[in-house]
Amino acid sequence: MFAVENPLGSTMRYFQAKISENRVLGGGYFVLRLSGCGSLAAANPGQFVMIRGDWGRDPLLPRAFSLLAVGPGGTADILAKTVGRGTALLERSLPGAEIDVLGPLGSSFPEPQGDTTDLLVAGGVGLPPLYMQAALAADRRQVARSEMIYGGRGGDDLVLLHEMRALGLNLFLTTENGAVGTKGLVTRALEARLEHHRGTPLRVMACGPNAMLWAVARIARDKGVPCFISLEEQMACGIGVCLGCAIPARSRPYRYVCSNGPVFDAADVLDVDGQPGPAVPAACPA
């Protein structure tokens, strides 16, 4: 029932991979296939990698991406959206380019269970870990117990639909502008699906913008349904060292998105709504 905390250092590796394919999907979305990622083979849905191209000293820090899939022969896929300089460089990168990879990192979503329906809620580029979760369920022939509620601003934001249908996944699409699927937010669709499944064993798993995740978590809490969310925060190291990716948590002042998360049991982080932890001297620059 708990998000799987990946004990630090268990299998993570720092290695060099190569881009073997860059599939541009439009709307700023693209799927990078990396080769040489054998050490990611055992990664679970929700885990992520820190990656960095061979682009000098600026941008400096590696970027976090959830895994979309790990394939045979040491391939790994990520789905990314261009939002800034790092992703723009990745979007332009070509097959053959070298990429430094650190991973697999962080916690993962709980495994699919035969007796429970999993409502997978993806907002925009939050799709990858849930896609991987659905693929795992399909692999175990439990995909009938999974539903994907997938929303975006417009039609451009909904990608890999063909692949998800091929998994046999039940898809509920929403767009804010109504271009594809139901007009509105994923939260509305989630409420409808929760209502639909009322009385049966349910879990919610979600990934997307943090604001969406808080809304999803509140809905799940109100319905008494267990909920797991994959959070985002600025990261430098990805391995619990810099203490940069702190988020206020219920049980203690802070939890770390990279090492305690990114997948959290919503009950553990929900109540604290962004207030700082115990007061400290304000301007201490370290």
Partner: protein, 308 residues
């Protein structure tokens, strides 16, 4: 690599296998890097800054990227002396490299208390004082910016610390040499130059600071020219303490630049986030580089800048 290259150096009261250390706050308590870089290959590591009591750190967000650098305002979050001894030290005793413990306090007394307690711990090879902390009694001005306050603070800690005591200088000053001299007068065994430079970043869209505490510490390659300058200024002024050079070091060439400027060890900071194997890689590259250049001993480089 040729076995003929000597990387070993005894400096600041500690004998190091080689002069490549890792910087406080960027290498956790060492264990986090197991399997990512070879702890037995690096010269030493400096722990996250320890205070007498555990601290939870600053509000979030705490970090952001800047041009060739980053800002952080972690707020000196740490496990405290007891937590350090109980949870971190057992691993560090066995980790196969030198261990310096970075420490600080919110008051004079806290510094002295913290220094004394860490000094007593088996497995600690030396202490590094972080004096870039706001002195609450003095209106939040950093302890380390006033030479007199700094000298007195170092002297007070020196009186209780028997192990090698290094002081990590703040670069937020118009006169780094005066700070170095104050440390020498206070009885320090070594200087670490530099800590982060106070900076700020703003999100133009939200009109808010990018980190919650408004100000943070700038680190990374962006600050290397400033760090190198300060190391050289202190060296040139003839301050007798050995220097551990810190600031934006990314590779063996950068490390060599700091040696030439006068550092006898260097510390790898932000680069361990960019490349967790950075410190190990720099040791390997440094050895290969010296071998290729026919330099037998890394100590030949220290202060060997030619300015004629």
């Amino acid at each position: 690599m040729s076995a003929a290259v000597n990387l070993a150096i005894e400096t600041g009261g500690i004998a190091f296998r080689n002069p490549i250390l890792t910087a406080s706050g960027t290498f956790g308590y060492g264990k986090e890097f197991e399997g990512l870089t070879d702890l037995r290959a690096i010269g030493g590591l400096v722990t996250k800054g320890i205070s007498p009591k555990p601290r939870f750190g600053n509000a979030t967000p705490r970090i952001c990227e800047t041009a060739s650098g980053m800002l952080n305002s972690i707020g000196l979050e740490n496990v405290g002396v007891e937590g350090f001894e109980r949870d971190k030290l057992p691993f560090l005793r066995e980790c196969g490299t030198r261990v310096l413990v970075n420490f600080f306090g919110a008051t004079f007394d806290e510094y002295v208390d913290c220094g004394a307690r860490l000094d007593a711990l088996d497995g600690v090879d030396g202490l590094e004082m972080n004096v870039s902390c706001p002195n609450i009694k003095a209106g939040g001005i950093e302890f380390g910016t006033d030479p007199r306050v700094l000298r007195d603070l170092v002297r007070a800690c020196r009186a209780v610390v028997k192990k090698p005591l290094w002081v990590k200088l703040t670069p937020n000053t118009s006169d780094i040499v005066a700070l170095a001299v104050a440390c020498a007068e206070g009885g320090a065994d070594g200087l670490s130059i530099i800590n982060t430079i106070t900076g700020m970043a703003i999100d133009a869209r939200t009109r808010r600071p990018k980190i919650a505490t408004i100000f943070g510490g700038l680190s990374g390659p962006a600050i290397k020219p400033i760090a190198l300058r300060m190391v050289y200024q202190v060296r040139r002024a003839g301050v007798s303490l050995p220097i551990s050079g810190i600031g934006g070091i990314q590779d063996a060439t950068d490390a060599i630049e700091f040696f030439l400027a006068g550092a006898s060890t260097v510390q790898i900071g932000t680069q361990s986030f960019v490349d967790p194997d950075a410190s190990g890689r720099i040791v390997r590259d440094l050895e290969a580089r010296l071998a290729a250049d026919g330099i037998r001993d890394v100590r030949e480089l220290v202060g060997a800048l030619s300015v004629g």
